[in-house]
């Protein structure tokens, strides 16, 4: 059984069947990509996975526990971290403070009234945050205002903030959308490195085929709200249905 199990999920918005009978199993410690043309239901599926939308039918189990109806902070405390399409960081805070917050959350839980302690005396937290920034090559920027960074660096910081909590599952929603090529490649390298170094499952929803085929070990193709095929990148590349539904002629040319 996979770490994340989606069973018979249906979701309807009025007359539109956004998700129809979705079954999906994400293996522990794999990199699993979910791709599909616009309107295939990728975002809806992601919102179901993180508890933002409750499906009409079906179940979503993370490590044999249902995620449905839970609040985002509860899902995060279960061990699922999410990276957003536009990087969501604490723009008013410094890079180091950004990194400290998830470490506090991991240590102290969803709420703790630590109003009379001093942040400056939290040597353990600061040390962990600096080590994380070091591994992201961002140590020099630790006192910078995080809102002033480039998009690529914001993405790097956001991924680092997720990793600082040692999640078991990292969900990425189009992590390279709107990025320059160099930043995209940096992000791919970072994700590869994370996958090599850690026991972590990565689920990635992506448009950019370059990203998908450089990272994914397994790919699910979604079309019109339902999984069309699932398999290894090579299998997906060669699959006639996928080529027809999604990849178009360029992929045919590439594999030939």
């Amino acid at each position: 059984m996979g770490i994340l199990e989606v069973r018979n999920v249906n979701k309807r918005f009025g007359g539109l069947q956004a998700l129809g009978d979705v079954n999906l199993s994400i293996e522990e410690n794999s990199v699993h990509a979910i791709i599909g043309p616009n309107g295939a239901g990728k975002s809806t599926l992601l919102n179901v996975l993180i508890g933002k939308l409750i499906p009409d039918t079906g179940s979503v189990m993370f490590d044999s526990q249902s995620v449905l109806g839970r609040k985002p902070f509860e899902i995060c405390q279960m061990g699922i971290s999410r990276v957003f399409q536009t990087p969501e960081i604490f723009g008013d805070l410094t890079v180091l403070e950004n990194m400290m917050i998830p470490i506090f959350a991991k240590r102290d839980g969803a709420f703790r009234m630590h109003a009379l302690e001093s942040t400056a005396h939290e040597a353990g937290i600061i040390e962990q945050a600096e080590a994380m920034l070091e591994s992201l090559n961002m140590a020099d920027q630790r006192h910078d205002h995080s809102a002033a960074m480039s998009r690529g660096n914001k993405r790097r910081l956001e991924i680092g903030m997720c990793l600082a909590q040692n999640p078991r599952l990292l969900l990425l929603d189009e992590p390279t959308a709107g990025m320059a090529r160099a930043d995209t490649n940096n992000t791919i390298d970072l994700l590869k490195q994370i996958n090599d170094e850690r026991d972590i499952t990565i689920a990635i929803i992506e448009h950019d085929m370059h990203v998908v085929f450089s990272l994914a070990e397994r790919i699910t193709v979604l079309a019109q709200g339902s999984p069309l095929v699932e398999g290894t990148p090579d299998y997906i590349k060669g699959h006639p249905k996928v080529r027809e539904a999604y990849l178009g002629e360029s992929a045919v040319g590439e594999t030939a």
Partner: protein, 398 residues
């Protein structure tokens, strides 16, 4: 020292010096000079500086850190005042139980209002708090007359129980016999400096509250509150529950307001419904923004600034203006008086409004930003000094 960084300690010491030497600092002009009306060093006004300083410091913990703009904080001030006067009526004129109860009652009241209002954010939160405050005002004014004495306001009467009163107990507000109104006046030349017990009690409590607010600002809890303001989505997906953090900030700032209300009643044992009116809630918003929201010292400066204007500028009437401009020829004197008079006396709001606009437009960071700009001008001569400044740029400043 005190668990503060060097920078914060410096700010605390500056505020402590300002507060403790206020009778001197605010009385720069000799008592018989024409400028004496600009002296603010009389106990009544200094007490208000300290009390409204506490109110604004507390408001800043909510608004400055979390960004939740409450438009109903005067309700907590009013509730605190009523609670304090009830203590005077039931127990004795000792201010200690009065102040304690005002903080507790305001905290409970803030818990209730915050629990409901914090279900929404942004403008909806502001409107909800405003609605609650106006409801409280109207309740205090009419429906709850047995508790609040309605229009007349709550005060202490001779036939009140006052069960802790002995035959020799003081009949004015006191702290274990030390009367709030007792004042020592120091005469030096033609200067008079007043040292009142009431003022020093308020000032010491204000300093303690200021210290507490620095600790909150620099704590992990304070960092979480800034995270709420910065990005609630990321906060939720980082496994943090924003609601109890904002509620805690709301209750803390409500307790500060209750403390201010209790102190107001301790200086003058009266509580009226008008203390809860929306204009009073708006005033603390102005104080905080004027001084610099989210900064440590800003609310103290802002409240001092506004209270100074309210009490000093409002006293300047046409007679005073005629005196000022008497050196001019008669016609010119009248023209000058006619031009200036709308801005002083009962028109002091006009001056305050214009200053507020100027500050918000040119110094969105409030008076603190103005101070920083001036400091920066001086520092430009010494470029080496820029580096530590740059490193600190994004910590919430002084």
């Amino acid at each position: 020292m005190f668990g503060l960084g060097k920078h914060d300690l410096k700010i605390l010491i500056i505020v402590a010096i300002l507060a403790l030497l206020a009778p001197f600092i605010l009385n720069p002009f000799p008592a018989d000079s024409a400028m004496a009306q600009f002296n603010a060093g009389y106990p009544d006004l200094m007490q208000r500086f300290a009390i409204y300083g506490i109110f604004a410091i507390g408001f800043n913990i909510l608004f400055g850190l979390t960004g939740y703009l409450s438009f109903g904080h005067a309700a907590f001030l009013g509730v605190g005042s009523y609670a304090a006067v009830w203590m005077f009526k039931l127990l004795s004129m000792n201010v200690l139980p009065a102040i304690l109860l005002s903080v507790i009652v305001a905290g409970l009241f803030a818990l209730l209002i915050g629990f409901i209002s914090l279900r929404r954010s942004g403008i909806y939160f502001s409107i909800l708090t405003l609605a609650f405050a106006q409801m409280s005002f109207n309740l205090a004014y009419s429906v709850l007359t047995p508790l609040t004495n309605g229009e007349t306001g709550l005060q202490v009467y001779n036939d009140d129980p006052q069960i802790l009163m002995g035959p020799n107990s003081s009949t004015v507000t006191n702290l274990f016999g030390l009367e709030m109104r007792s004042t020592y006046t120091l005469h030096i030349g033609s200067w008079n400096f007043d040292f009142a017990v009431g003022y020093y009690l308020c000032a010491l409590i204000m300093l303690a509250m200021f210290y507490l607010s620095i600790r909150i600002f620099r704590s992990p809890f304070g960092m979480m509150l800034r995270a709420v303001k910065s990005n609630q989505t990321r906060m939720n997906y980082t496994g943090l529950n924003a609601r109890p953090y904002t509620l805690a900030a709301f209750v803390i700032s409500g307790m500060y307001a209750g403390l201010a209300g209790g102190l107001l009643a301790s200086m003058d044992p009266l509580a009226g419904a008008e203390r809860m009116q929306w204009t009073a809630s708006g005033e603390v918003v102005l104080m905080t923004i004027l001084g610099g929201a989210g900064t440590l010292i800003g609310p103290v400066l802002g409240s001092g600034f506004i209270k100074y204007f309210e009490n000093i500028f409002s006293k300047i009437n046409e007679n005073v203006l005629h005196e000022w401009f008497s050196f001019l020829p008669q016609g010119l004197e009248n023209i000058m008086v006619w031009m200036v008079s709308p801005f002083v006396g009962s028109g002091w709001h006009l001056t305050l409004g214009m200053l507020f606009m100027l500050i918000v437009i040119f110094l969105p960071g409030g008076l603190v930003q103005g101070g920083q700009k001036i400091m920066h001008l001086f520092r430009r001569d010494r470029p080496e000094d820029d580096k530590p400044g740059a490193a600190r740029q994004s910590t919430p400043a002084e």
